[in-house]
C-alpha cells in the first residue's frame, strides 16, 4: 500500500501541476481554466504513468478534492465545477477517449456523452460520429480538451438526429 499511496498522491499532483501552469497564465480562460490547458504543457511529461509513479504530492494536491475545503482551482469543496465537468473529464481521460472513439464505444465515451447531455438512446449515434471523424477529434484533443469538446459540440449540431436529441 505504500506504493498505492504514492501513486494516489502522485495522480493528484499531476492535477495540481495543471493548476500551477494555470496560475502562471491567469488569463487562459473561464472557469478553472483546466479545460484551456494545452496538451503542449504535458509534452515534457513523456507520458503520465511514470510521472505519476515518481511524483509525490504537496498539500495543494490534496486540496483539489479535499472535502469541505472551499474553492480551489477546478473544484468547490472537492467537487468539480458543473460548468467544467466535461473539460476536466476530457483532459484527464484523453488517452482512453482517443481509444474508444476509434473503437466506436466505451465507458469513457459514454460518460463524456452523458456530461454533454446526450440521451442514452443516442449514444450509439454519437459513438459512430466520433469514429467517423476520428482524425479531426484526435487533432482537436491534442490541442486542448476545450477544443475537443467544442469540436464535438459542433459536430453534434450538424448531425440532425443528435442535434435534436441534445436540444430536447
Amino acid at each position: 500500500m505504500l506504493k498505492t499511496l504514492v501513486v494516489a498522491l502522485g495522480t493528484m499532483a499531476v492535477i495540481s501541476q495543471a493548476g500551477l501552469v494555470l496560475a502562471a497564465n491567469p488569463d487562459t480562460g473561464p472557469g478553472c481554466g483546466l479545460g484551456k490547458l494545452a496538451w503542449a504543457d504535458f509534452k515534457n511529461q513523456k507520458n503520465i504513468a511514470p510521472q505519476v509513479m515518481m511524483v509525490t504530492t504537496n498539500a495543494t494536491g490534496m486540496n483539489t478534492f479535499a472535502i469541505s475545503s472551499g474553492t480551489s482551482g477546478c473544484t468547490n469543496d472537492g467537487q468539480v465545477w458543473a460548468s467544467e465537468k466535461a473539460h476536466v473529464f476530457a483532459v484527464i481521460n484523453f488517452e482512453n477517449l482517443s481509444e474508444e472513439m476509434a473503437q466506436g464505444k466505451g465507458e469513457h465515451l459514454a460518460s463524456l456523452a452523458s456530461l454533454m447531455r446526450i440521451p442514452e438512446a443516442q449514444h450509439g449515434a454519437f459513438f459512430a460520429l466520433t469514429q467517423e471523424r476520428y482524425s479531426t477529434f484526435l487533432q482537436e484533443g491534442e490541442t486542448s480538451s476545450v477544443a475537443l469538446v467544442k469540436a464535438l459540440n459542433e459536430a453534434i449540431a450538424e448531425n440532425p438526429v443528435l442535434a435534436q436529441a441534445v436540444a430536447r
Binding site: T4, T11, I67, F89, E95, K105
Partner: protein, 633 residues
C-alpha cells in the same frame, strides 16, 4: 406602588426576552438536559467524534486536528466537547478547517443533538448551510459501493491493498459509473520523503485526510497505470443511511488523522465512517493490531445482507490476457506484427480477415501498445504515435468493438483465506522426532489456498515456529521469518517481467558438527518463470541468487555466496498443489562451503480457512519431514 411593582415585574419578564440573556439560559437548559440524558456517553456521540476507550479507562479521539473539536479538551473529554458543541450552535463564528459556523461545519452533530434535545428554533436559530446543501446535492446519491483494487503483478507488497467508497449517482449506468465521486482516505506525503517514508508511514508521521476524487481518476490509477483488477461491492444502504454517511463525511473535511500504515489506515477510517452511517454495524473493533484492507472486505462481505451486488473491473493486463485467449495461432502472429509495425494494419493479410476480426486484432494490439507505453518512459512518445496509427486504422472499420465479458484470473478477495495462520504438526528430522507449532502474522505463500489471492505471488511477514525434539529433549525456535517475498511473472509472447524473491529470517541447521544451530540469513534472487497448462496450471521458475548467513556454526561466524535454484508448482486438483524446488549455493566468503538443498511440499485445502501440508526438505546434512494442519484466522 402597584404601578411600580407592575413595572418591575414587567422589567423582570421583559429581560429574558432580550437576546443576550436568553441564549445563556437556553444553552444552560440544553446542556443540563443533555447531561440528564447522558448523551456524551452514547455510542452515536463517540462515533461522531471518533472516541475510543483508552488505557486509563477514559476516551480519546483518534482524530488529531484541533479544529475538529469545539472545546480545547475535546480530544479526551466527550462531555466538555458536547457542552462546547451546544454553545457553538448558538454562534455564527466560523470554525474548523472548513471555516463554517458550527451548525454547518458539523451537520451530523447538529442533526443528532437537535433530534435528541428537540431544539426550540425560536431560541436556537437554525442556520442555512448552502455549502453543505450544494455539496450534498452534487452527489445526487443513490447508493454506496465499496471499492477494492486487488494486488498488482510483480509487486506482492500491494497485496496489502486499499479500499475506498464510491457514491453512486442516480441515473448512472454501468457505462457512466466512472463519473461518480469517491470518498477516499489517504495520507498527505510531502515531496522527496525517500527513506523516511516507510518509517513515518508506520509510526503515524503523516496526516491523513478525506477527499472526493472522481472515480475515473481512481480507475485510471489502478486499472490503466498499475494494472490492478478492481472489485466493487454495492452496499445495501437506504436513503437515510446514505445521508448520514455524507453528513459525517462532510464533517470529516475538518478532520485529520495521524496515518498509521498498519492499523489506522485507509480501510480503518472507512469502517468508522460506515459505522456512523449504520450504527448497528460494529466494524472497527475487529481490528486491534492491524487493519488489512482485504480483511475489511471479508468482514463487510460477511455482514448479513450488507453486500448485494459484486462487480469486477478488469485491469488492462487482464483484458489483454483474456482477449489473447480468443486468438488463433495465426491471429497471434498478426497481433505481434501490429505491435511491431502499425502499418501492418493495412496489409493484405489483415484486410482479408472478416471486419469484426480485423477490429478485434487492432484492439488487442492497441491495448498492448498502450500498456507498453505506460511502462517504458523513454519510448512513451513512440508508443503513443504507434497507438494513434493503429487507432486511426481501427476507426476506418466502421463497426463498434464487440462486448466481451472479461473473467478474472483470481476469485474475489472475500473468498480467500484469512490473513493470519496457525499450524500444528510433527515429523522427523534425521534420527529424531518432533512436534511443531507455527504462527504467521500475514499473509500468503505459494502453497496456501489460492482463491481470492493474486496468483504467483507470496508475501509472508512475521512468522515464528517453535519445535520440540523428543530425543534431543530440546525445545527451540526452529524458524523465524521477518519477511519472505516471492513474485513470479510467467513470461510469454507479450509479457516479459523478471521474477524475484527476498527472504530475511532464521532457520535451524546442522553444520560442521554443530547440531541444531540457529542460522540467520538474507537471501535475494532474480530470475524468470513460465507457465504451462498440462494438467490444470503449472508454473516453472529459475533464480540466480545471493545469500549471506550468520551462525556460530560457521568459521568466522558467517558465510556469503551465491548460486541458483529452479522449481515448479502444479495444481493437481482444485484443492491439491505440489511445490518442488532445488538449489545449489557456493559460499566464497567467510566459512568456505557449499549447500545443496531440495524440497517437495504438498498442500490439500480442506475448507476456505483449513489446509493440510506434507513437506520434505533436504539441506546440507539435514532431512526433515513435516506434516501440519493449518488454520487461518
Amino acid at each position: 406602588m402597584q404601578i411600580l411593582l407592575f413595572l418591575l415585574a414587567g422589567l423582570l419578564l421583559a429581560v429574558p426576552a432580550t437576546a443576550d440573556d436568553a441564549i445563556p439560559s437556553y444553552l444552560a437548559q440544553l446542556q443540563r438536559q443533555a447531561r440528564e440524558l447522558r448523551l456524551a456517553e452514547q455510542r452515536e456521540w463517540h462515533l461522531l467524534l471518533h472516541y475510543r476507550a483508552d488505557l486509563l479507562g477514559g476516551s480519546t479521539s483518534e482524530q488529531d486536528d484541533p479544529g475538529f473539536f469545539l472545546s480545547p479538551n475535546g480530544k479526551t473529554d466527550p462531555q466538555t466537547e458536547l457542552d462546547a458543541t451546544l454553545a457553538g450552535f448558538f454562534s455564527d463564528e466560523l470554525v474548523g478547517r472548513s471555516k463554517q459556523p458550527a451548525q454547518c461545519a458539523f451537520v451530523a452533530r447538529y442533526a443528532w443533538l437537535k433530534g435528541q434535545l428537540g431544539f426550540d428554533e425560536a431560541r436556537l436559530k437554525p442556520l442555512t448551510c448552502d455549502r453543505f446543501d450544494g455539496w450534498f446535492a452534487g452527489f445526487d446519491a443513490e447508493a454506496v459501493t465499496l471499492i477494492f483494487p486487488s494486488a498488482y503483478m510483480n509487486n506482492p507488497a500491494s497485496m496489502f491493498g486499499h479500499t475506498f467508497l464510491r457514491i453512486d449517482q442516480r441515473g448512472q449506468t454501468p457505462q457512466t459509473r466512472i463519473l461518480a465521486y469517491t470518498i477516499n482516505f489517504a495520507a498527505d506525503v510531502p515531496q522527496g520523503e525517500g527513506l523516511a517514508y516507510p518509517v513515518r508511514g508506520i509510526f503515524g508521521g503523516y496526516s491523513g485526510y478525506f477527499s472526493t476524487i472522481p472515480y475515473y481518476l481512481k480507475v485510471q490509477e489502478y486499472r490503466d497505470i498499475e494494472n490492478r483488477d478492481i472489485w466493487e461491492y454495492r452496499l445495501n444502504f437506504d436513503v437515510g443511511q446514505i445521508r448520514r454517511l455524507l453528513m459525517h463525511a462532510w464533517e470529516l473535511g475538518n478532520a485529520s488523522f495521524d496515518y498509521f500504515f498498519f492499523k489506522e489506515n485507509c480501510s480503518y477510517h472507512l469502517l468508522a465512517l460506515l459505522e456512523y452511517a449504520d450504527p448497528s454495524l460494529h466494524l472497527t473493533e475487529h481490528f486491534r493490531f492491524w487493519t488489512v484492507p482485504a480483511d475489511t472486505v471479508r468482514l463487510l462481505a460477511g455482514q448479513p445482507g450488507l453486500v448485494h451486488d459484486i462487480a469486477f473491473r478488469p485491469s488492462r493486463v487482464t483484458v489483454i490476457r483474456r482477449k489473447r485467449e480468443r486468438l488463433s495461432a495465426s491471429e497471434q502472429r498478426v497481433v505481434k506484427r501490429l505491435v511491431r509495425d502499425a502499418s501492418a494494419g493495412q496489409s493484405a493479410e489483415v484486410k482479408s480477415l472478416p471486419l469484426a476480426r480485423q477490429a478485434f486484432l487492432l484492439d488487442v494490439a492497441s491495448d498492448y501498445v498502450r500498456y507498453k507505453g505506460d511502462r517504458d518512459e523513454d519510448h512513451a512518445a513512440d508508443y503513443r504515435a504507434h497507438n494513434r496509427q493503429l487507432l486511426t486504422t481501427r476507426s476506418q472499420l466502421r463497426i463498434p468493438s464487440e462486448d466481451l465479458a472479461i473473467r478474472p484470473f483470481s476469485l474475489q478477495p472475500e473468498s480467500g483465506h484469512r490473513t493470519s495462520r496457525a499450524s500444528l504438526g510433527g515429523g522427523w528430522r534425521n534420527n529424531d522426532t518432533f512436534e511443531e507449532i507455527t504462527v504467521r502474522a500475514a499473509y500468503h505463500d505459494l502453497l496456501d489456498p489460492e482463491p481470492g489471492y493474486t496468483p504467483d505471488a507470496q508475501i509472508e511477514v512475521g512468522s515464528l515456529s517453535l519445535r520440540h525434539y523428543n530425543r534431543a529433549e530440546q525445545t527451540r525456535v526452529e524458524r523465524a521469518t521477518l519477511i519472505n517475498v516471492l513474485s513470479l511473472s510467467p513470461i510469454d509472447g507479450l509479457f516479459r517481467a523478471p521474477s524475484w524473491k527476498l527472504n530475511l529470517g532464521m532457520q535451524t541447521i546442522t553444520h560442521r558438527g554443530c547440531e541444531l544451530c540457529s542460522n540467520w540469513s538474507a537471501n535475494g534472487g532474480i530470475g524468470a518463470s513460465a507457465e504451462t497448462h498440462l494438467l490444470r496450471r503449472e508454473v516453472f521458475f529459475a533464480f540466480a541468487e545471493v545469500e549471506g548467513s550468520y551462525s556460530r556454526a560457521y568459521d568466522e561466524r558467517h558465510r556469503v555466496g551465491g548460486g541458483a535454484s529452479v522449481g515448479f508448482y502444479a495444481d493437481l486438483t482444485e484443492r491439491w498443489r505440489l511445490l518442488a524446488s532445488t538449489g545449489y549455493l557456493r559460499y566464497a566468503l567467510g566459512d568456505q562451503s557449499d549447500d545443496m538443498r531440495w524440497s517437495v511440499g504438498q498442500r490439500y485445502s480442506l475448507a476456505q480457512n483449513w489446509a493440510l501440508r506434507l513437506e520434505y526438505s533436504h539441506r546440507d546434512h539435514d532431512n526433515d519431514v513435516l506434516f501440519t494442519v493449518q488454520a487461518f484466522f
